[in-house]
C-alpha cells in the first residue's frame, strides 16, 4: 500500500515468517510514516519502537546500520516495520518526533547506544549511559568489558584495587 501511494519512498520489500518489512529511503521516512499514520486504510497510529541493527561486515558494499521503525495499527490489528539503511560515515536520519511524540525517547536511546544522529530532535543526549560516557555500547566493535572471573592463575583480579599490580585494564568509575 505504501508502494502505491508513495512509490519513490519504497526501496524494496521483504517478507518472511509471516511478517513484512519495507525498506524506505532516508529522505522519505517522515513522509512515509505520516502517511501510514493518517491514511484511513492504514492508521498505524501507535509508535512501537525505533532501534538499530549494526552489520559491520556489510561495509563497504552496503550500509552498516539498519534503523528499524515499528508501528502498530489498533484498528486493523497489524504491525508494520520500516527499515532505513544508513552508513557509518553519515549516520544521520530525520527525526520522527513530530510524527509520534513517543519516538523522542526511543531516538535518544538509539543515539546513546549506537551513535545514530537524529536531525531535528530537540534534545538529543544520552539517556541510558552517563552523560560523559565514551563510545556507543551496542555497536559490534564495542567490547563489553566487565571483569574476568578470578582463578588462581589470574588472582590479581580478586585483589582490591589498591593492592593490584599497576597497568591492569578496566577500572570501575
Amino acid at each position: 500500500m505504501l508502494q502505491a501511494k508513495l512509490p519513490e519512498a519504497v526501496l524494496r520489500r521483504d517478507e518472511a515468517f509471516g511478517e513484512e518489512t519495507v525498506y524506505v529511503a532516508r529522505e522519505h521516512i517522515v513522509a512515509a510514516t505520516t502517511l501510514l499514520r493518517d491514511d484511513p486504510d492504514a492508521l498505524y497510529r501507535m509508535a512501537v519502537y525505533v532501534t538499530a541493527v549494526d552489520w559491520p561486515e556489510r561495509e563497504p558494499d552496503e550500509p552498516r546500520f539498519d534503523i528499524v521503525y515499528q508501528l502498530r495499527s489498533l484498528q486493523y490489528n497489524d504491525v508494520c516495520r520500516l527499515i532505513v539503511q544508513i552508513t557509518e560515515d553519515d549516520p544521520h536520519v530525520p527525526t520522527l518526533e513530530k510524527v509520534f511524540s513517543g519516538m523522542d525517547w526511543h531516538e535518544r536511546e538509539c543515539y546513546d547506544l549506537f551513535g545514530i544522529v537524529f536531525d531535528g530532535h530537540h534534545d538529543l543526549r544520552r539517556i541510558l549511559m552517563p552523560e560523559d560516557w565514551d563510545g556507543h555500547p551496542l555497536r559490534k566493535d564495542y567490547v563489553s568489558f566487565g571483569e574476568p572471573v578470578a582463578f588462581t592463575h589470574n588472582i590479581e583480579w580478586a585483589l582490591p584495587a589498591n593492592e593490584r599490580p599497576p597497568g591492569m585494564p578496566g577500572s570501575a568509575r
Binding site: A16, V79, R81, L113, L128, Y142
Partner: protein, 432 residues
Amino acid sequence: MAAILPPDLPELPPPPPDAEDPFAIARAALGVGTENDAVELVQIGDQTMELNMGPQHPSTHGVLRLVLDLDGEVVKECRPDIGFLHTGFEKSFESHTYQQCIPLTDRMDYLAPPINNFGFSLAVEKLLGVDVPPRGQYIRVIMCELARLGSHLIWFGTHALDLGATTPFLYAWREREHILDINELVSGVRMMTSFIRVGGLMADVPDEFGGMVEQVITTFPKRIDEYELLITNNPIWVERTRGLGVLTAEDCLQYGASGPMLRGSGVPYDLRKAQPYSSYDHFEFDIPIGTHGDVYDRYLVRMQEMRESVRIIEQAYRNLPGGPVNTSDRKVALPPRNEINTSMESLIHHFKLVTEGFRTPKGQIYSAVESPRGELGFYMVSDGDNTPYRCKVRAPSFSNLAALPHMVRGELIADVVAVIGSIDIVLGDVDR
C-alpha cells in the same frame, strides 16, 4: 469487553480555562473564586525552583530520577532522568546462546519474570517455527497469569503505600507469598523462575501444583474484594486520584503507551485478545476499560484485571490437557531422560543442545506479549547462529514513562507520586 462504571461519585469540576493562574486547579476543585483570597495574588516574577526527586527516593518505584521545575507546589515541567539501572541486556543477549538468554530475560521486568521468559520464548519459537503442545501452552498461561497477579499485587501495595495507605502493602505481600510458593514448587526459585523456555517448559509440574492453584482460585476473589473494600470508595483515595494524570487515547497512541494505561483511556486493546498467543483464545475473559484515563480509572482497570486473571487461571486449570509439555522437535527441546539411555540420536541431540544450543534461520521477527505493564515486544534478528544477533526488547515501561511529563504538567508535587504509581513502572524494564 466490559466498560467499568465508576461508583456513584459527584461529577468532576470542569477544567479551568485559565492556565496562567497557578492555583487554578485548586480553586476549581474547591469551587472558590478569587473573592475569597485573603491577599491579592500578584505574579511578581518567575519563581521556578528546580527540585531533584533523586534516584534514591521511597516513592519512585526504583531508581528513577525526576527533575521537576516547580512554581510553589505546581509542577511546570518534569524531566525524567533514567539509566540508573541500565544493565546492558541487549548487549549480553548477543553473547549468550538462546537458552542462556532465558535467565537473563527474567531480570528485566522483575515483578513478573515468567512473562519476560514467555515473550522471549515465543519470539524464538516464531523464528524456529516450532509449536508447543497444548499442555505446555496451558501451563504457560497459568504461570503467566499468576505472574500478572503477583505483579498487580505489588503495584497495588506500593501504589497504596505511596498515597499513605499502609495496610494494603502488607495484605498484598501476604497474598504474593502464595504465588511465590507455587513458583518455588514448579521451578525451585521464588522469583526468577526461568521456567518457560524455548520449546516448552523446564519440566512438567509436580502433583502438588493442583492443590496450590486451587487454593489461589478459591481465595483470591475474596481477597481482591477485601482490597476493594479498603480503597475503591475511600474518599481520600478518590480525592487524590480522580481527574489526575489524564492521558487521552490519542496521547497514549502517540507515546506508544500500552496495557492498563491504554485501556484506562478507553481503548479496548489487549494483545491477549487481539493477537492471541499460546491458546489464550480458548479462554473466556473480559477486558476492563476505563473512561476518563485518569489515575483512578487505571486503578479500577488493574483491579478488574486481577479478577480476570483468576478467571483465566481457573479455566486453564480445569481444562488442563495431558500429554508432553515440550515440543517434540529434538533439535530445540531437550529429549526426556529415559530416551537418552536408549537412543543414540537423543544422546547426540542432548549433547549438542547443552553445549552449543540450537541455531535459528536467518531473518528478523517481532513478537509481542501482554505484560502487566503493556506490550512487551521482542524484535529479534538472527544471522543463522546460535546466539541472537540483535535482540531489541520493546519495554512497555519505557514508553509509558515517556508520557509522564505530559501527565504531570500543572499538577502538584504530591500528585506526581500518585501518577508514577499509576503508570506501574519497573525500572528494570525501562533501563534494560
